[in-house]
């Protein structure tokens, strides 16, 4: 079975492609949705096309599939319209699938299940990356706020941190938020550096 992945996210496409290869699918092509990508699709004549649901180019792709012969026969989203739970899981995961009409359900289902799992894995990974990035940014903010307190009030580093923490607890806010407010105030007062 020939599978095309239309994606411009290198990481997501890689995660999906690896999963498909591990599951024994060999004919896989990753096609970024730019320029003459439908011409490439036509040449490879895929049985299944997988795409990110949030991709703004879905309408362009559907139009091109409608007027070109990229897929040999009429196409259908998903495998079996009656399989609502799988369709729901696919939409939740952000996968859209175009399948050549008439392809057997038992052949397509594992591909779609795998795509759903891999899209979810990608989202989780991205969430972790975002969290790590936020944490790093917050640590920098707290460090800067500590430095301001140490300089302006002559506190030691543990004392400055303790002051931020008790203020945050008293106000029911996060330490990073208090630190951010302190930096803004210090900037306004002209002694933030």
């Amino acid at each position: 079975m020939r599978i095309a992945i239309i994606d411009d996210s290198g990481l997501r496409a890689t995660i999906l492609e690896e999963g498909l290869r591990e599951a024994g699918f060999e004919e896989i092509d990753v096609v970024p949705p730019h320029g003459a990508f439908v011409a490439r699709l036509e040449r490879m004549a895929p049985d299944v096309v997988l795409m990110n649901l949030g991709n703004a180019n879905r309408d362009s792709l559907e139009e091109m599939l409608a007027v070109s012969r990229a897929l040999a026969r009429p196409i259908a989203m998903f495998v079996d319209q009656s399989d609502e739970s799988m369709i729901g899981a696919a939409i939740d995961a952000g996968v859209s699938a175009y399948v050549v009409d008439g392809l057997r359900k038992d052949r397509v289902k594992p591909v779609l299940e795998l795509a759903i799992r891999r899209f979810n894995a990608f989202s989780k990974l991205q969430g972790e990356l975002d969290a790590a990035r936020t944490e790093l940014a917050e640590r920098k903010t707290v460090d800067r706020a500590k430095a301001i307190l140490m300089q302006s009030r002559g506190l030691s580093e543990p004392e400055a941190y303790a002051l931020l923490r008790t203020t945050a607890m008293r106000q029911g806010r996060r330490i990073a938020e208090v630190a951010d407010a302190l930096i803004t105030a210090a900037d306004l007062l002209g002694d933030g550096r």
């Binding site: 949030g54 703004a56 309408d59 989203m77 369709i87 729901g88 859209s96």
Partner: protein, 402 residues
């Protein structure tokens, strides 16, 4: 409170949905409304068809196409409320626009002359003009085809129509991938403000009452949730009236400008709301009355004849095979019965009929109504041809004479 999710695309004409949520109209009807922003009509359609949302902001022709199975597997769609009339503009690259009348006001005021000028310019352009449309089954695409067809241009042969998401039109125009596009606001205003295109035609001057977006639900959902649907339609009726009121335009433009809604500058969004449109960069805004209508002149009433006009255009451009079943299914997408049920007793004027000859009114007309007083607005097509829903083959023959 009944929770309800509605999918939308970032466009000015999503305003009634946004106002319903943000200005308390939904809440007053007991609806906790969440709005889900998407980037493609395909995704809005899939969310609606597969039940992830209960309703959607949708292109009227797409609602008909989904019902007929022209766009993926068939699914019966009900459109009980039109979110707006009009609101589109055709923007051309400066190179292509140079072939048109240099008087910008005359250009948009006289779409017949501009269509002929455009037809003459096609052969002189350095390539077959590539025009961006937002979807095969969009109101804008049907309007563009109608306008081109008037001047003897075959839109499937003499120009290349290319589907692009509205938010990517300006970039494609800047890069020279397209030579123009027709889309809803604010995208023409954005292209003009950036100096990469000129507005060559406005939708309201092609069809004075052009059917645009509808509120779409699955028919089975509408039938099994009558009370919720009635509440939603009442909320939208009030939200649409609020959106039409000039006193609210500054507030509405600021609301739409938020990054979670349209995410474009408020002053650009306000042009369409106020009907004062800049046609070229730094140009003096031109008054275009009824450029975008949310409520006035029974704009929200889903006339079955308007769904049939859409069907007639599908036939004209070979998008569907003619059949009595397809015709009945198309007419049945516009649910004037549900609109009437929801707004009975609300003081909103309800037309006595559900179908009319489209494009026959040159001046405002007081019409028969069940409650309130109803004045229908002029609704002519620019070529003056009326559409009689009782005689679709006859109508298609008159269009062929162009």
């Amino acid at each position: 409170m009944t929770p309800l999710s509605i999918a939308f695309l970032p466009l000015t004409d999503a305003a009634p949905l946004i106002a319903a949520r943000e200005r308390g109209f939904a809440e007053a009807e007991g609806i906790a409304l969440s709005l889900i922003r998407d980037t493609s009509w395909a995704t809005v359609r899939d969310r609606l068809v597969y039940g992830q949302v209960q309703a959607a902001h949708m292109l009227a022709p797409l609602a008909v196409a989904v019902t007929l199975g022209l766009s993926q597997a068939p699914c019966a769609i009900a459109a009980p409320f039109k979110l707006n009339d009009n609101g589109n503009a055709l923007t051309l690259s400066r190179e292509l626009a140079a072939a048109l009348d240099p008087d910008l006001r005359r250009r948009i005021a006289d779409p017949e002359a501009t269509a002929h000028d455009f037809a003459a310019a096609i052969g002189l352009h350095r390539r077959k003009p590539v025009l961006g449309i937002v979807h095969r089954y969009s109101s804008h695409a049907l309007m563009l085809r109608y306008w081109l067809g008037y001047a003897g241009v075959n839109p499937d042969r003499d120009v290349s129509l290319r589907v692009l998401p509205p938010s990517l039109m300006t970039q494609a125009l800047r890069l020279g991938e397209i030579d123009g596009f027709i889309a809803g606001e604010p995208w023409s205003s954005v292209a003009v403000a950036e100096g990469i295109g000129e507005i060559a035609a406005v939708g309201v001057n092609i069809w004075r009452r052009g059917v645009e977006k509808v509120l779409a639900t699955r028919t089975d959902w509408a039938e099994s949730n009558p009370d919720t649907l009635d509440q939603l339609l009442r909320a939208l009726d009030r939200a649409a009236a609020w959106c039409d009121d000039p006193a609210n335009h500054a507030d509405l433009a600021a609301l739409l400008a938020r990054p979670d809604y349209v995410g474009q500058p408020a002053d650009l969004l306000r042009q369409a709301l106020a009907g004062r449109i800049s046609l070229v960069q730094e140009g003096e805004p031109v008054a275009v009355p009824e450029f975008l209508v949310f409520h006035g002149g029974a704009a929200n009433f889903p006339w079955r004849s308007q769904a049939l006009w859409i069907y007639s255009q599908f036939l004209r451009w070979d998008m569907v095979e003619p059949s009595p079943e397809a015709q009945a299914a198309s007419a049945g997408v516009f649910r004037s019965d549900l609109y009437r049920r929801a707004l009975a007793g609300s003081g909103v004027a309800l037309p006595g009929a559900s179908s009319k000859v489209e494009g026959a009114l040159a001046i405002p007309l007081a019409a028969a109504s069940h409650q309130g007083s109803l004045t229908l607005s002029p609704d002519q097509f620019f070529d003056g041809k009326p559409f009689d829903p009782q005689d679709i083959p006859g109508y298609l023959r008159t269009l062929k004479q162009n």
